[in-house]
């Protein structure tokens, strides 16, 4: 159209037609009929996951700009900043695509779970202990799965082995002071940690064999140790 203002007078008259609305009786009739069809569902979606991720990222951006994220890194379970630390890990995991970094993040989550396990033993909360051991097992398994996908497998495995070793020590210390009823759950956690360590070692041996035979070594092992 050449000039939209040229027809402004006509358009403004036409626009008055937007005052036409359905009658109140009709509205209430349809409201009633639709409300019978549309029964509120029990399954409520809080927010779409992409929206949740965006909202989460915005929140993360906001809090990171005031240095809360940095401070939260050292926080322990039960402290005010601990939920921030956990949220940051979740966002990082959601955004991270590199298997090595994902494996490390899962190991860090497992370390957090260990602290939570310790806390639930101290507070004598068996239900919480079960939940935390489950989370620990889950994160250890995921860390191992991600390390298998990693191109820098040797490097990742070394790091995971160190971490798994430390975690076992912590778990044994907790077990020594834990009451009798907490022992089965803790044994599960120790088993998960041992299994992880064995699998990691197994993967390391398999990974090293062909390279040693060829005398090439793993070129990526020494690279990019982030």
């Amino acid at each position: 159209m050449n000039n939209p203002n040229e027809y402004q007078d006509i358009i403004s008259h036409i626009k008055k037609l937007e005052a036409v609305k359905p009658s109140k009786e009709f509205k209430s009739r349809v409201d009633l009929m639709l409300s019978k069809t549309i029964q509120p569902s029990s399954r409520q979606v809080i927010l779409a996951s992409p929206f949740r991720l965006v909202a989460f990222s915005v929140l993360l951006f906001f809090i990171s700009s005031v240095g809360v994220v940095g401070a939260s890194e050292q926080s322990e379970p039960g402290s005010l900043l601990y939920p921030v630390k956990k949220a940051v890990r979740e966002v990082r995991l959601a955004l991270e695509t590199n298997p090595r970094s994902r494996a490390i993040l899962h190991m860090q989550k497992a370390e957090d779970n260990l602290k939570e396990i310790e806390q639930s033993v101290e507070s004598n909360n068996n239900n919480r202990l079960e939940q935390n051991v489950n989370r620990y097992q889950e994160n250890v398994n995921k860390a191992f799965q991600e390390s298998q996908k990693s191109k820098q497998q040797n490097n990742t495995i070394n790091r995971m082995e160190q971490s798994a070793g430390k975690q076992r020590e912590v778990l044994q210390q907790i077990e020594n002071r834990a009451p009798q009823q907490a022992q089965p759950a803790l044994n599960r956690a120790i088993e998960a940690s041992e299994k992880n360590q064995q699998e990691v070692r197994g993967a390391e041996i398999i990974d090293n064999q062909p390279e040693t035979q060829n005398g090439q070594g793993n070129n990526e092992a020494g690279k990019g140790n982030r």
């Binding site: 159209m1 008259h13 037609l17 009709f26 349809v30 009929m33 549309i38 509120p40 779409a48």
Partner: protein, 195 residues
């Protein structure tokens, strides 16, 4: 400058509306039926208005068809693909098709001209009793083709974009722009003649 600012404000509000619709549709598709209720409340008036002017201001038919639009939308929501069109053009397309079906069925017993309501009935609605609006509307009915009238209503009464109108009427945006321009030109000429 003022025009540009108005355009920017319109653009922002249309992005906001689209995002809100996307969220409501996502929730409705995932079983949150109250979200569909919100979409219905948002579009009831404008869908009714669109149909009302397409069925020659016959309130009864407009009400029946409006009701049918929302039932159909609820029934078809699962098959609605946001990648093809937004919710707004989609629901208007349902309304458009139902009006076509209505005339198709009606024509078996009568012709389209015979369906024109008498003048008194047409302007029964309060807003149409305003003389200037009445004149414009009479001219629109007399001088514009059904398609031009539809585009003018969708564009200036219901605030749809040319892109959305193109999707509803299965035409390209250029054709919509040109029909819109010709419709406004016709209205201007006829109004000048009467002055």
């Amino acid at each position: 400058m003022r025009h540009k600012l108005q355009k920017l404000a319109l653009y922002k509000s249309s992005i906001f509306k689209t995002l809100t619709d996307k969220l409501l549709v996502y929730k409705a598709k995932n079983g949150d039926k109250e979200a569909f209720g919100k979409l219905y409340q948002k579009y009831l008036d404008s869908i009714y208005r669109y149909i009302f002017f397409r069925v020659n201001q016959d309130k009864k038919i407009a009400e029946d068809l409006t009701q049918a639009v929302f039932y159909k939308a609820l029934e078809k929501l699962d098959s609605f693909d946001e990648e093809i069109a937004g919710f707004r053009p989609w629901i208007y397309k349902i309304a458009h098709n139902l009006v076509i079906d209505h005339y198709r069925n009606f024509r078996q017993t009568t012709t389209l001209n015979e369906t024109l309501a008498d003048e008194n009935h047409k302007f029964e609605d309060k807003i149409l009793q305003n003389m200037q609006v009445q004149n414009i509307y009479k001219v629109m009915n007399k001088e514009l083709t059904e398609e031009q009238k539809q585009i003018i209503i969708l564009k200036y009464v219901n605030d749809l974009s040319n892109k959305e109108i193109a999707l509803i009427l299965n035409k390209n945006e250029e054709a919509i722009r040109s029909l819109q321009y010709r419709a406004l030109q016709n209205l201007r000429k006829t109004i000048k003649k009467h002055e």
